[in-house]
Symmetry: C2
Subunit: 290 residues, 2 copies
Amino acid sequence: MSKATKAKSPAIGPAIILVEPQLGENIGMVARAMANFGLTDLRLVNPRDGWPNEKAIATASKADHVITATQVFEKLDHAVADLNFLFATTARERDGFKQVRSPVHAARDMRGRASAGHKTGILFGRERFGLYNEEVAVADEIVTFPVNPQFASLNIAQAVLLMAYEWMKSGFADETQTNFAGPEIVPAERKHLLSFLDHLEEALDTRGYFRPAPKKPKMVDNLRAVLTRPGFSAEEIKVLRGVLSSLDYFSPKEPRGAGYPERKAKADKAKRMSDETGEAGGTGKGVDNG
Amino acid sequence: MSKATKAKSPAIGPAIILVEPQLGENIGMVARAMANFGLTDLRLVNPRDGWPNEKAIATASKADHVITATQVFEKLDHAVADLNFLFATTARERDGFKQVRSPVHAARDMRGRASAGHKTGILFGRERFGLYNEEVAVADEIVTFPVNPQFASLNIAQAVLLMAYEWMKSGFADETQTNFAGPEIVPAERKHLLSFLDHLEEALDTRGYFRPAPKKPKMVDNLRAVLTRPGFSAEEIKVLRGVLSSLDYFSPKEPRGAGYPERKAKADKAKRMSDETGEAGGTGKGVDNG
C-alpha cells in the first residue's frame, strides 16, 4: 500500500527492459528512440555481447545520458524488482489470463500510475523470438502493436520507439499537440479581401477578361468564390496584393524600379485618401510588394 | 476536380517519398516500417547510392514487395505529380504560411482523403539536414513529431515508422484496438467465489489462522476483500480451487496421486450432493486441479 505521505514528483517514464538483447546496434537505437521521447531508464538482462558495448554507443547518436545510466542485470526478477506495474510486449497471442492492451492504452495507463508516484516498466524480448512465456508471466499485462498481420516484423528498437512515442503523447492535454505551431491563420477581415478583389476585377476588366459581357456577373461570382474559399489571412492578402500590383502596374519593359507608373501613382493616392477617411483599402504602398 | 463517376476503392495509404536518401540501410528500414503497417508505395528522389541497393534489400527484412515496387525519380515534382495532397515532415520550425500538424492529425486527415479516393503522400528529407525550404514548399501542410526538444534526433526510418503506425491506427474504429485480444475476464458468478472463500476459511480455521478469536470477523472481512477485488473469472477460480485443495487435502508426505485423503473424499461427496440439489458449490472434482 502506498504511504499517504509519499511525495508527488513529476511523472517518471517507464523503465525499458530488454531481455537478452543480441545486437549492440539495436541497444543503441533503443537508447536513441528513448531519448527522443524523454525516457532515460534503460535496463538490460544478460546482453549477449556484454556491457558496455561500443556498437551500442556508436548507434545511440548522442543519447549518451541513456547509455551511461543503463543498468545491467543477470536475472529478469532483479531488473524489475522496484517496479509497481509491468507490461510485456509480444507480437503473438499467448495462452493465459493476462489482459492485452494497445500502445495507446498502455501509455495512458502508465501515465496515470506514474502521476500517482508508481514505477512502471515495459519488457521487450530477444530479437529472434521475443519473450519466453515465463518471462511474460512476470508482467501484469501485455502490450501488442497494431501491425499488419501479413507482415509483422517490428524489431525491438522500432517497438521501443512506438511505446516511447505513445508515452510522450500520453502526457499531452491533446494528442494532436505539436512542439511548434504553424502560423495562426485567421481569415482576414472582409474589407481586405474585398479591396483586393476589387483591384483584381478592375485589372482584369481593363484587359478584356470578362467576355462575353453577359457572362460577366457569373464570371465575377466564380472568381470571388475561388479566392474566398481559402480563407486568406491578412498577411497572405498582402502577398497577393503585391503580386497583383506587379502584374497590373508593371511590365517586362517597365519593371519595378524603373519608375513610378502613372496608374500606380493614381491608385496609391486614392488608397491614401480612403485610408485617411477611415475607409477600407488595405495598408498602403509599403506592404504591397513581398 | 474529381469526377463524379470515380470508383470508390479501399483507402489507399500515403506514398512515402524519401528525398535524396543516403544510406541503403535506412531505405531498407523504411520499407520494413511501411510493411509492418500496411504501406507499400515507396518513392525515392535521387538516392545517393543509386537503385536497386543491396543494403536496402538486406535491411528490409522480407519487405520485398515494398522494395520491388519502389519507384525512383530524378525530380521531386515528378515524384509527387499524381498526388492530391502532400505533407512534408520537418523537425524544425519554418517561416511560411503552412499549417503544422501532429502525426495523429495528419494520419486522420489522409485517411479521410484516401476514403474519398484522393492520393496522399508524405515527404521525408535527407538524413543530415532534412528538406530544403523549396521542397517543403511543394507540400500542402507540415507534420512534425512530438519529440523531446532537448533531444530531437529521429532518423528517417523512425519518422516513417511513426507515420505508418499512425496511418494504421487512423483506420481503426478505436485507437486502442489490438490485433488479438486477451481473455475476456468476466468476474465469476458470486456463488463460485463464495464457495471458494468458504473452503478457504474452513481450511484456515482448522489450522488456527483466525486468532485471537475476537478478531476473526475482521480477519474474514479483510481476507474476503483481498480476494474479491481482483474480480476473478470462473476459470481463475477453478485454478485457485485446485491450489487450495492441494494445500488443504495433501501434504509433502501424502501428495496427490498417493491416495484419496479422507477429508477430500468427504468434501467431494458433499459437493456432489449440493450440485445434484441445484445448490452453489463449484463444478466438481474434475476441474479442481489445474
